[in-house]
């Protein structure tokens, strides 16, 4: 096999497999790489994946379904990149994505990834649900279509289609209405943001989505975007400028923090709970926004805020990144990162686990059920907590 195009052929051998990539920011355990935490075979560590990729490039091992599963079990959470002490650490995640790209180009990817990408090609969302149903979440909310309002509220696929995601999408819409924010949505004309498509190694599809979205936004005169999902936020903030799509992109927690600070949003209704917060990778490690969600929680009367042992850039990923909220390569075990994470949340004594990402919300809520912790811990999106604090029914 020849993978002469592999972009990182001259650097991938430099991973020593020392294993720093497995840790959170301190050394409390070796389970901060979600895939390694789940499987605990060296192959599933970042170093293992890099060595296997190189062995594949060098023809020492053949492509196999198992190899594809190992590579696709990477959630792109960026823990490895933050922890690797070596100078090429900025590229280790890119190496993984490039390896996935090789698989995409050869057409040899896990069946769920194939389904994910084909669904997006066809219906603009990973679920394969009709494009015509994308706006069903907003029924009865009175949320307007975008037509030159200050903000484009970009909902994303999980917010548009997942039942739980839809609830947060609606609530955030209501919170924005309550704060008097001028905003509109794209409804059925909204298309996938492509963030996970990129992380799955489907570069061209990502480019097409980015180009189409940029063209659509520009055509509508969009200047400011507020996103429900940190995944959308990441793509639009960091990748779309490469497609001449320079917008003022905010994650909703950033906008809400500002609204609360300047008095635009009254949260005096309060929220009585002991709350801990799970950093979503695409808000945290990818964009280093650790403070806005915490500031919101701290501003709400009645919230008693506690940190989990692993937090901020040492947070454990919920296991849903890199398309894994759909691919589910990391599910099905008490070692699944989401289940580890909710156990950790429980250890803080919190009764509410706050999230700021619809993917994390669905992953962690399922994990709470799987762990049988429903009576101890509730997973709530910050939009829902804020919704309650500003007394939205």
């Amino acid at each position: 096999m020849t993978l002469t195009n592999f972009r990182y052929g001259d650097v991938i051998h430099r991973c020593f497999r020392c294993g720093y990539c497995k840790f959170p920011i301190n050394w409390m355990d070796v389970n901060n790489c979600p895939a390694y935490a789940r499987f605990r075979m060296e192959t599933y560590s970042c170093g293992g994946r890099l060595w296997l990729t190189r062995a594949w490039l060098e023809g020492e091992i053949e492509w196999s379904d198992h190899l594809a599963d190992i590579l696709y079990s990477c959630t792109a959470c960026k823990n490895c990149e933050v922890k690797c002490p070596l100078s090429f650490n900025i590229d280790i995640l890119n190496m993984m994505i490039a390896a996935k790209s090789e698989m995409v180009e050869r057409g040899e990817i896990p069946s769920a990834a194939k389904e994910f990408l084909e669904n997006i090609q066809r219906q603009g969302n990973p679920y394969g649900t009709s494009r015509e149903k994308r706006d069903e979440w907003m029924e009865g909310t009175g949320i307007e279509a975008y037509q030159g309002q200050e903000y484009l509220y970009y909902v994303g696929c999980v917010g548009s289609y997942d039942t739980r995601g839809q609830e947060t999408a609606r609530l955030l819409g209501k919170v924005l209405q309550k704060a008097g924010v001028s905003f509109g949505v794209l409804g059925n004309d909204e298309n996938c943001d492509g963030n996970e498509v990129r992380n799955l190694g489907e570069e061209t599809l990502f480019e097409m989505l980015a180009e189409d979205n940029v063209a659509q936004f520009q055509g509508l005169g969009v200047q400011k975007i507020v996103t429900l999902s940190p995944h959308s936020y990441n793509a639009m903030k960091n990748d779309y400028p490469g497609f001449n799509g320079v917008f003022d992109v905010l994650h909703y927690t950033q906008l809400l923090q500002e609204l609360i600070r300047n008095g635009g949003l009254d949260v005096s209704g309060g929220y009585n709970a002991k709350v801990t917060y799970h950093d979503p990778c695409f808000l945290g490690r990818w964009n280093e926004e650790y403070d806005a969600p915490r500031a919101i929680l701290r501003a709400i009367p009645g919230v008693q805020f506690v940190e989990m042992a692993r937090n901020r850039n040492g947070a454990l990923c919920c296991g849903g990144g890199g398309g894994n909220f759909y691919l589910d390569l990391l599910g099905g075990s008490e070692d699944s990162p989401a289940r580890r994470r909710v156990r950790e949340a429980c250890e803080t004594g919190a009764n509410v686990l706050a999230v700021a990402c619809p993917n994390c919300l669905t992953m962690l809520e399922d994990a709470v059920k799987a762990e049988g912790l429903e009576n101890k811990l509730t997973v709530r999106d910050i939009s829902e907590i804020v919704g309650e604090a500003c007394v939205i029914k």
Binding site: A112, E115, L327, D328, L329, G332, K369, A370
Partner: protein, 327 residues
């Protein structure tokens, strides 16, 4: 129209169920139009079949020929073409089996006669025969009429026509038929039966059956767990075998096994007819599927519209709890 001819199919010393089904339909159509119903059966040692068929058919044509012992398309095409030319039936009716699928298209071309396959209904309308087909994987129906033709070819969907007890006592007529030359370009090499290597799903009281809704092979684990707490075994629909997640011996449906368990729990199975045909004998059917409109819900007694991966772990817990309480 003169007559309706049903071509019966047999293998392993058994007449195919679908042959009885279309025969019953043929009888009904013939009665409605006061036509003669003919049945044809060919092979060796076929007298018993012929006798069976006389309960429905007015006349049973038998052709003793060892080249027709196995249901193979090429020799049968020659035979049926011959019969049509000789008998000139108005309708030739067969079950929509893998045998017919290999046979009737070329037959229709050879004779230049119309063909509609896999019909779920066949009926008279103003003296014309019309058929209904299920299209878009069961999401719509389409009815068709035929252009003027001395003979038309129809195949009927497996399991779609109820077998009504035959009341006739038709007579048997043997026809001589010989092949002019042997077919040397397509050689039948034999059958390969899928062996049950351990698990026999047809014997299970409880089947936990999975479809592509489980997304990943890995998720079979939790399904196995559910089967374990229910004391059943795991079976599946065709895509699961296609993906290589389970061996074909676990497949329920037309090309797999026919099962009649006490409980059939369909997980992430949409319920295409090819699958349903294999499980509709279950005494109790429960379906869990994300798509509220999935056809499986119209054969199930109970349904849950949700992601199986969310419900199954909870179900395992609940069942274990209930079991724990009684033990």
């Amino acid at each position: 129209m003169s007559s309706i001819l049903v071509v019966a199919e047999h293998r392993n010393q058994t007449l195919a169920d679908v042959s009885y089904q279309v025969l019953s339909k043929g009888r009904q159509l013939a009665d409605q139009a006061q036509m003669e119903l003919l049945a044809a059966v060919a092979g060796v040692d076929i007298d018993a079949y012929a006798k069976e068929l006389t309960r429905w058919a007015d006349r049973v044509i038998i052709v003793n020929n060892d080249q027709l012992e196995e249901p193979l398309a090429e020799p049968y095409q020659k035979l049926i073409a011959h019969l049509i030319r000789e008998i000139r039936p108005g309708i030739v009716l067969m079950g929509h089996s893998s045998f017919a699928m290999d046979l009737v298209p070329s037959l229709s071309v050879e004779l230049g006669i119309p063909l509609v396959t896999d019909c779920v209904d066949i009926f008279w309308q103003n003296g014309d025969i019309l058929v209904t087909r299920s299209i878009y994987n069961g999401k719509a129906n389409a009815s068709y009429s035929f252009a003027q033709s001395e003979t038309i070819l129809i195949t009927g969907r497996v399991g779609e026509f109820p077998v009504e007890e035959g009341q006739r006592q038709g007579w048997i007529e043997e026809i001589e038929f010989a092949f002019e030359e042997e077919c040397d370009y397509k050689k039948f090499e034999g059958y390969l039966e899928v062996e049950a290597a351990g698990v026999d799903i047809t014997q299970a009281e409880v089947l936990v059956s999975v479809g592509r809704g489980i997304k990943e092979k890995k998720n079979l684990e939790i399904v196995e767990e559910l089967a374990r707490v229910l004391g059943g075994v795991v079976s599946c629909s065709r895509p699961v075998v296609d993906y290589g997640w389970l061996p074909s011996e676990r497949q329920v449906g037309l090309s797999g096994k026919t099962v009649q368990p006490k409980l059939y729990l369909g997980l992430g199975i949409s319920g295409a007819f090819q699958h349903v045909v294999g499980m509709k004998g279950a005494r109790m059917t429960v379906a869990i599927n994300k798509d509220a409109k999935a056809p499986i819900f119209s054969v199930a007694n109970y349904g849950i519209v949700d992601d199986v991966l969310k419900v199954v772990p909870a179900l395992v817990n609940k069942i274990s709890e209930l079991k724990g309480r009684t033990e």
